[in-house]
């Protein structure tokens, strides 16, 4: 199914607000709110790590996810893996062999689309830390409601009645899909529609990244 471009054009994402260097001690940190969902990410590296986890050809990425109550759980490990694999595709680890890059994520508020918010926040924290990257990435969340309609960037209320949620991550070079995370039941057509709409919406996120960088970059040089 080819989605009508007109449908794709009229999209809106929840308002995004970001602050760099929220934590003063880490090499890079960012706090990002997308609507009511807030996440805080800190990046440290490239730094020295123990011999056993060093890799001679590239840097080792470690992701730690901590939810609100702070207790480790299997669900957290799953999210860590998603973030880790997405970041590994984006970071040029081969420039920092035998070092480690630590990414620490703290959940602050979850009102839907938390995974997308976390991924975007991670990307911003990586930009702030100055780690060399192959490209930036943008995550967009979608939901399918009980009538089978695709909702872009759903709110908390819309998520209560939805049958499926999806998170797509795109790279900035050719807008190709690098991560997809889905939950629930949906049709193939709904998936394709959601994919195309998210792909167009990712432009907004990339433009947001550029605006953030533009704000400080003319006085730092």
């Amino acid at each position: 199914m080819v989605t009508d471009m007109k449908d794709v054009q009229d999209f809106k994402l929840k308002p995004m607000k970001c602050e760099f260097n929220f934590l003063s001690k880490s090499d890079g940190s960012a706090i990002l709110s997308q609507g009511d969902t807030v996440s805080l990410v800190s990046v440290n590296g490239p730094l020295d790590i123990k011999m056993t986890s060093q890799r001679i050809d590239k840097s080792t990425l470690e992701v730690l996810f901590s939810n609100k109550n702070g207790k480790p759980s299997v669900e957290n490990r799953y999210k860590e893996n998603i973030v880790k694999q997405t970041c590994e595709a984006a970071i040029l680890g081969s420039l920092y062999p035998r070092t480690g890059i630590n990414v620490t994520i703290q959940e602050l508020e979850d009102y839907g689309g938390f995974l997308a918010c976390t991924l975007n926040c991670t990307c911003l924290a990586l930009l702030n830390s100055g780690v060399s990257m192959r490209n930036v990435f943008a995550a967009v969340s979608c939901a399918v409601d009980n009538q089978g309609n695709v909702i872009l960037d759903p709110t908390h209320a819309q998520l209560q009645t939805s049958t499926a949620t999806m998170t797509f991550v795109f790279d900035s070079r050719d807008k190709s899909l690098i991560t997809c995370f889905t939950d629930g039941c949906f049709s193939q057509d709904a998936y394709r529609e959601a994919l195309e709409r998210s792909r167009s919406a990712s432009d907004l996120v990339f433009a947001f990244y550029r605006d953030i960088i533009r704000k400080y970059c003319n006085v730092i040089g």
């Binding site: 760099f20 090499d27 890079g28 440290n44 590296g45 490239p46 730094l47 020295d48 984006a90 040029l92 420039l95 920092y96 062999p97 035998r98 070092t99 930009l127 702030n128 830390s129 100055g130 780690v131 060399s132 990257m133 192959r134 490209n135 930036v136 790279d171 900035s172 070079r173 990339f206 990244y209 550029r210 960088i213 533009r214 400080y216 970059c217 003319n218 006085v219 730092i220 040089g221």
Partner: protein, 236 residues
């Protein structure tokens, strides 16, 4: 996305201008740029800069130091291991500094350096696959301004702040040096060593440097003036 010089760039952006220049002659790619099979790509967020005729780089915000050859850095001696000192410069691993790479040092006449000393040294060798190596002499065997930094006060800041204050167009040091006497050494690894006559002057200097990070040149000038007035007021 295609970008040109003085644009705000993000990792993954592509610069056809550099590729075109590369076809005509040699180009130098500085930090933040990377040549790949199908063109030149950006790897760091910031502003793409060019110095004529052929040097390109990205001015970016960064706090973590990645050693690079020929830079002057400030490090702390963390260990004495036989013939070499281990110096923490803020990179992913400690740099080595041979006891023979000081002015006038011989096997008999060792430099008096203790663990915890702060040294101002030059990166002799730095590659991603090897431990960085420091020296405290130039190629003529003279120490110049390198060596142990006695007394004073060391603080950390971001790497681009160092580049900013060392830039000849930046008015910060020029304005401050007329106000009160001080000594300053700026390491490209994001550490600054300062020494002034009194503690009040040292603090004022440190705060002036840290405060100038996000200010424009005009704002820096007025800030320096304010600090000088405050300082003079307290002394009298």
């Amino acid at each position: 996305m295609n970008v040109s010089i003085d644009d705000v760039v993000l990792p993954g952006d592509h610069c056809p201008e550099i590729v075109a220049a590369g076809e005509k002659g040699k180009v130098l790619l500085g930090p933040g740029l990377r040549k790949e099979i199908n063109g030149v790509f950006i790897t760091k967020p910031g502003v793409l800069r060019k110095r004529t005729p052929n040097t390109y780089w990205v001015d970016n915000y960064q706090k973590r130091y990645v050693p690079s050859r020929g830079e002057n850095v400030i490090g702390t001696v963390v260990q004495k291991a036989g013939d070499i000192f281990r110096v923490d410069v803020g990179g992913s691993c400690a740099a080595s500094l041979s006891y023979l790479s000081f002015e006038g040092a011989t096997k008999k006449n060792r430099p008096a350096i203790k663990t915890g000393d702060v040294v101002y040294a030059k990166m002799l060798n730095a590659s991603k696959d090897m431990e960085p190596e420091l020296v405290c002499v130039d190629s003529h065997g003279k120490k110049g301004r390198l060596g142990v930094l006695e007394e004073g006060f060391v603080f950390k800041c971001s790497l681009n702040l160092i580049r900013k204050i060392l830039n000849p167009h930046c008015p910060l040091l020029n304005s401050l040096k007329n106000e009160w006497p001080f000594e300053l050494a700026a390491g490209m690894n994001g550490r600054i060593w300062i020494k002034a006559n009194t503690m009040r002057e040292t603090l004022a200097l440190g705060n002036a440097i840290l405060g100038s990070e996000y200010l424009s040149n005009d704002e820096i000038k007025s800030m320096c003036k304010n600090i000088a007035v405050l300082l003079a007021g307290h002394v009298s």
